[in-house]
Amino acid sequence: MSRGIKIKHHKNTHALQAVRIGHCGMVTLLMRQGIGAPCVPCVTPGERVLAGQLVGEAQAPLAAPVHASVSGTVKKIDTVRLPTGEDVQAVVVESDGQMEFYPFQAPAVHSREAFLAAVRDSGLVGLGGAGFPTHAKLRSAAGEADILLVNASECEPYITTDHREALDRSADIIAGIQHICRWLQIREAVIGIEDNKSDAISLLKGLCWQNNTPELRLRTGVLPSRYPQGAEKIFIHTLTKRVVPLGKLPSAVGALVMNVASVSFLGRYFRTGRPLISRTVTVDGGAVPHPMNVRVPIGISVGELLKDKRIGFHLEHASDSAPLATKIIMGGPMMGVAGPDYSAVISKCNNSVILFNSSEARLKPESACIRCGRCVAVCPMRLQPLKLEKAWQARSAQDLRQLNAMGCMECGCCSYACPAGRELVQRIRLGKKFLRDQQTKGGA
């Protein structure tokens, strides 16, 4: 990828193994975590639940079930507003501190159907960020995909959870690849990883070499550290030279892309049967005294997480007049969502909490476009952000379509690179919504 941007990595936590969070009083289990239809709560307030017990049933095909991440009592079934502004139903569980597990066992799999059903029951969604239900992705890839691409590129600054996954759970990654490839009849798998993770690269290369068989060719692909290397279409192109047609999914070119943590989870799941109830989260940013990777139950709030003394963030001193952090970002600084307070909860697809201090959070003032062309030069999808911005400002659906607005993956390179501080990707996002609205209006 010659386009994209070189961006400061800030991988401060890459040498820190994830530590389990000390305590957790309450978890808020969102009924929709990532893409897809919401789940339906199957517990009632007052009921005692065990860790790993089903609390949200996935009734739609594009949904993954939700399990209790701690043992305790169901306090209430509530509606929660996400930082994105959406309202989602949630089961709130008060922990009893026992962490008593629901009895589970490794799934017995004898067929592709049983494999897909087991993946569905695990509650797994893509752990890299988008949160697409994994069983649905695997089902659509079955018979279509001839190559499995494991995404460990982790091109967003700060985040090191995938790096740690590769270092600390490499055997699970290989096991996960073997399970997926066996049941989907895929005979080639590549782990793609950026060249700023040399320790993980050498480890994975050794493991790939050891486990390479004629039935399953395994290798590690080293990628240049350049944002957005991990974006699906760019990732596929760098590793295989295959170009995913505009508006199509990776399966159109026979590729199945999965995040490394998702693959690793499947490796563990088929050994233990324990569903997705916890995940690793990078806590970093200028407002965090001791950046670290923490292992947290799904549904813990940022405020609860920050109470861990080792992070050194004295949330008890935070008040409305002095909030300690000036920006609270769920996810990476390039594509994450900023929340208004510490109440946001960690969902399955949430890989980091970035807390910016006031100087990091300062907004770049916006001035007139000087037509320097940097946005065009950096756009990995080869669009023309400066013209898309104008098309949106003119509310021209025709221009937006002609300029391939829907091809924008919202990586934010254009806004990053703009010297005039233009809110380019932000306006393209609005332009895309405008086009979608027009389409539904036209269809109705």
Binding site: I5, I7, K233, H237, V243, V244, P245, L246, G247, K248, D320, S321, P323, A325, T326, K327, I329, G331, P333, M334, M335, G336, V337, A338, G339, P340, I354, F356, S358, E360, A361, L363, K364, S367, A368, I370, R371, C372, G373, V376, A377, P380, M381, R382, L383, Q384, L386, N404, G407, E410, S415, Y416, A417, C418, P419, A420, G421, V425, Q426, R429
Partner: protein, 325 residues
């Protein structure tokens, strides 16, 4: 105003440290070696001219924003760049009162009336130079010799070269000219900032290293002029005189790379620069003017939006779908 407590905005949450002002100050820095060279060659008057030019450009910028009741933009420093470039395009002996007229054309007419930075369709400094050239032809072509050099006093090397080539190319004798080293150092007649090739190249190198410009436009422009000159004059030495003479380097490095008036697309830049090169040679060899850089760039400025539309990049993944359909 009270500082907001928690900032909520949409991604990306990090931005590059580069600003419009930073870009403009980089261009100013890149112009400094050539300014120093012009003071060395033409004396303090060169500095005075540059001062008047920059001052009047900045004043016109600030004034027009006030009159138009628009947010003040003088802080982006682009008027300083225009002022320096305008001064670089003027002969050192130009009466000072003509300079603000050029600044008025550049800043008010070409730039602010069309919406300010990024909106002008033609390069402000070049348009101003052409307006001055057509209004005051004598003053604008009264070349003074560099201090301490008893070279040809009134004509630029390019003009002499043009006359020689037009009459009898075999009459060419190097004695009529400054040496190539003198050309490189700028010890020749010419506009304020265009004479010292070495300083201009240094500035260009700085701009490329700082990634303010890509070398695409200067290289294509100079390359095309080199090729055409070599085939027209048939001599590598004369070709070098064509490259180092006139305003070619100033134009190729600093004027043709102007963001507002050149295409943003990669192939657009190539076509634009090749066009500039061809037009420059056509005017130099077949026109009745000794120099064609300003007119070449101005003409290509006008074509720039069309070149840009014709060279729009194909979206990633778009080709494939066409191939299938």
């Amino acid at each position: 105003m009270e500082q907001p407590l928690v900032i909520v905005s949409t991604s990306p949450h990090v931005r590059s440290p580069r600003t419009t002002r930073g870009v403009m100050l980089d261009v100013c820095a890149a112009l400094l070696p050539a300014l120093a060279a012009s003071v060395w060659h033409f004396g303090a008057r060169a500095f005075l001219l540059a001062l008047v030019s920059v001052g009047s450009c900045v004043a016109f910028e600030a004034l027009s924003r006030i009159v138009m009741k628009r947010p003040q933009s003088v802080g982006d420093c682009s008027a300083i760049v225009t002022g320096l470039l305008l001064a670089f395009n003027l002969p050192p002996a130009l009466p000072l009162w003509m300079v603000p007229i050029g600044a008025l054309v550049a800043i008010v007419i070409v730039k602010q009336l069309f919406g300010g930075i990024g909106q002008n369709f033609a390069n402000p400094a070049i348009t101003a130079r052409i307006v001055l050239l057509l209004s005051f032809p004598a003053a604008m072509t009264g070349w003074s010799a560099p201090c301490g050099v008893d070279a040809i006093a009134s004509a630029t090397p390019l003009k002499v070269l043009g006359e020689v080539l037009a009459s009898r190319p075999s009459d060419f004798s190097p004695g009529d000219f400054p040496s190539l080293l003198q050309m490189l150092l700028g010890q020749r007649g010419g506009s304020l900032g265009e004479t010292c090739a070495a300083a201009l190249l240094l500035g260009g190198l700085y701009l490329c290293i700082r990634k303010v410009i890509t070398p695409l436009i200067p290289l294509c422009y100079i390359g095309v002029v080199a090729l055409c000159s070599f085939f027209y004059t048939g001599s590598p030495v004369l070709m070098l005189y064509e490259l180092l003479g006139g305003g070619l380097l100033l134009g190729a490095v600093f004027m043709a790379t102007d963001y507002s008036t050149s295409p943003v697309t990669r192939w657009g830049k190539v076509i634009f620069a090749v066009g500039c090169g061809l037009l420059t040679c056509l005017i130099r060899f077949f026109g009745n003017m000794p120099e064609g850089v300003s007119f070449a760039i101005l003409l290509m400025n006008l074509l720039s939006p069309h070149i840009e539309n014709l060279t729009a990049p194909k979206a990633f993944g778009k080709e494939k779908r066409h191939a299938k359909a």
